[in-house]
């Protein structure tokens, strides 16, 4: 089985702090990491490989420094790594990104399963997965929380998380899946994997290497434009109650009722 995982390198927001005076992000010393949701996709891909045999290829689009993310994926069990990197790809919105990644997947002559995280923690859009599927003409399933099995006829059964439960779906491969955290617990890298990662050959493809319409990539392929970026207003300092439990609770409830909040004492639902 051939599995492709699409990964994105993102700033590690775990270490992001807010400057309380300017209310802006403090980005100094913020490291780049593999998008956390993509870590689950990598793990799931490696588990599929271990169970059904095959290869896992990681594919990413981005500037040259994305190499480190791809190499890290090797230490986690990925076999081959490909980077789509070209100044012409820069400024891509989700439409252009999905188009470019799909072209990369076509260059790899497709896959049985394409996996990625449900969204990236910098953009939070979750739009690239379905977009890639559309460009490849494949079905997609988002928010997959479990891959139950792949049967002998090439059908995959998955559980997809919904707001009020989950739905079990059966899809004929090839297909594109985006995964949620619940799907697995990513393994730790291995030392031998880390050494493999150092020497692994990484293939870089530019726009010229792909079968694409130059108009449809990067900024020119992006219908959406960011016109303004701002930090949301800082929350005004809240009201803090301290003291005897009975008093603080009662003061809080008084305050809420005063503010028109529908908590009724002695009532409740």
């Amino acid at each position: 089985m051939k599995i492709i995982v699409c990964i994105k390198q993102v700033p590690d927001t775990t270490n992001v702090k807010i400057n309380p005076e300017t209310n802006t992000l403090v980005r100094e010393g913020v490291e780049s990491i593999i998008n956390p949701f993509d870590m689950y996709a990598i793990e799931e891909a490696v588990r599929l490989k271990e169970k059904y045999e095959g290869t896992v290829t990681a594919l990413s689009m981005g500037p040259p420094q994305v190499e480190s993310a791809l190499r890290e994926s090797v230490s986690l069990g990925v076999d081959e790594i490909y980077l789509l990197s070209d100044r012409a790809f820069a400024g891509a919105d989700t439409l252009a990104t999905a188009y470019t990644l799909a072209a990369g997947i076509n260059n790899l002559e497709g896959a049985d399963v394409v996996l990625m995280g449900k969204q990236a923690i910098d953009g939070d859009t979750g739009q690239v997965g379905p977009g890639v599927a559309e460009n490849l003409g494949l079905p997609h399933i988002t928010d997959v929380r479990k891959i139950e099995e792949i049967d002998g006829n090439g059908y995959m059964t998955v559980q997809r998380l919904l707001e009020d439960g989950y739905v079990r779906l059966k899809v004929k491969l090839p297909a594109v899946l985006t995964v949620v955290k619940e799907i697995n617990e990513p393994r730790m890298p291995s030392l031998k994997g880390k050494m493999r990662a150092k020497s692994k050959e990484m293939k870089v493809w530019t726009a010229a290497d792909l079968d694409i319409d130059k108009e449809r990539i990067g900024l020119s392929g992006s219908p959406t434009w960011v016109t303004k970026i701002f930090t949301p207003p800082k929350p005004k300092g809240g009201k803090i109650f301290q003291g005897e439990t009975r008093d603080t609770v009662s003061e809080l409830l008084d305050e809420l009722v005063k503010g028109g909040i529908p908590i009724k004492r002695g009532g409740g639902k």
Binding site: E182, L219, T224
Partner: protein, 396 residues
């Protein structure tokens, strides 16, 4: 060629662009801004440099649809289990605000099996036309069929704006539609506004876990598409004056076969699980110390008629299932009241609940970051405070 350029003569070396850049792609060299290869052309610096206009991005986009051929607003009437989803009135509410400026027809797309009975309700919210395909072949969960039919309807009806819900379904379906129509889509918007002069939709959404807001335009492509974050927009009210609307049946559109077979839907206890829908959420974190103590959280949630949430620490320790997790790697919630008990307030957690109407923090550490975002806080032992809250709310 598309690219970004610093106009050296105009740059005063103020460094505002450096602060604005989310990718640490700008530095000052000899008191002039220099942009390195980390730049993703996101445009944050251009906006930051409004005063000096020293950074410009030149761009041409691929030629799209004839903008003038598109008119009006359409919304996706999402439904499940024979009922309209609770987000539909919210999307219609947002659309009606746009309609005031745009002054064009407001329509809804209703696709599914046995959906006709919902059309009246949709109209009562103030919708002018319901574009409907009602066919027993269309399963609720066959999103590929939905996507295909929605695309066909949009191609025929050509609305200039198309909005869907920032729900699991909406965020899976609309990207597929946008990719087929080759138009722009903005995810999970918290603010929508018409630019009264250009008559373009200004779409504002959080990024970087809610630490940054971005306003996005789709100038040359139609329809302008967006998904709308749940529980942010004010829902439309049902009109009392018997608003007139019409149902347009579009049965002539072919229904494709689904590539996905739906085996079964498994419902989870929505009272406490469905944190995305709840008006009240009570969340527990590491401060609970033991899985048994989630009972306290449940009692308070029950007293308020709300749902139970949890921090990542509690989920990672297997105290409570993942479906309860609030935060960056869990769910984003916007309840009326969010009560955080024993949650210190890591940035990832804040990302998931910061936009709640009212945040109440209960924590014994007065320096916990959760108090920075809380509207109200009680500094104290949650094992005393939470039962006392239950007691006073129940009025015992």
């Amino acid at each position: 060629m598309n690219d970004i350029k610093v106009i050296v003569e105009k740059c005063v070396g103020c460094g505002l662009c450096i602060k604005a850049c989310p990718y640490v792609a700008i530095s000052l060299v000899d008191k002039k801004a220099v942009i390195n290869e980390k730049c993703t052309l996101c445009g944050a610096c251009v906006d930051a440099c409004k005063r000096y206009q020293a950074i410009v991005i030149t761009r041409t986009t691929f030629s799209g649809q004839k903008v003038a051929a598109y008119s009006g607003i359409a919304v996706l009437a999402e439904h499940r289990h024979d009922r309209l989803s609770s987000i539909v009135p919210e999307i219609i509410g947002a659309a009606k605000v746009l309609q005031k400026t745009l002054n064009k027809k407001l329509s809804a797309i209703l696709v599914g099996k046995n959906v006709k009975h919902m059309a009246g309700e949709i109209i009562s919210y103030g919708v002018d036309e319901v574009w409907m395909i009602d066919n027993p072949k269309i399963d609720d969960f066959a999103e590929d069929v939905h996507a295909s039919l929605v695309t066909d309807i949009l191609l025929e009806k050509k609305p200039e704006i198309f909005l869907g819900g920032g729900t699991v379904m909406g965020r899976s379906l609309l990207p597929r539609v946008a990719a087929r129509l080759l138009t722009g889509l903005t995810a999970d918007c918290t603010e929508l506004e018409m630019d009264p002069e250009a008559m373009i939709l200004k779409q504002t959404r959080p990024a970087f876990g809610g630490n940054i807001m971005a306003t996005i335009l789709c100038k040359n492509h139609r329809p302008q598409m967006a998904t709308v974050r749940h529980k942010v927009m004010k829902p439309a009210k049902k009109a009392d004056d018997g608003h007139e609307g019409k149902i347009v049946e579009m049965d002539y559109i072919d229904i494709p076969d689904s590539q996905v077979e739906v085996l079964e839907f498994v419902k989870e206890d929505t009272n406490t699980v469905n944190i995305a829908d709840a008006d009240f959420i009570v969340s527990g974190g590491r401060g609970l110390r033991d899985p048994k103590n989630f009972k306290l959280i449940e009692e308070l949630a029950q007293a308020l008629g709300g749902a139970v949430g949890a921090s990542r620490a509690a989920v990672d320790a297997d105290w409570i299932p993942y479906s309860h997790q609030v935060g960056q790697t869990g769910k984003t919630v916007n309840p009326k009241i969010y009560i955080a008990c024993g949650i210190s307030g890591a940035i990832q957690h804040l990302a998931g609940m910061k936009s709640s109407d009212i945040i109440i923090a209960i924590n014994n550490d007065p320096n916990a970051p959760i108090f920075d975002v809380a509207h109200y806080g009680i500094v104290g032992d949650l094992f005393e405070v939470v039962p006392e809250l239950v007691k006073q709310i129940k009025g015992k």
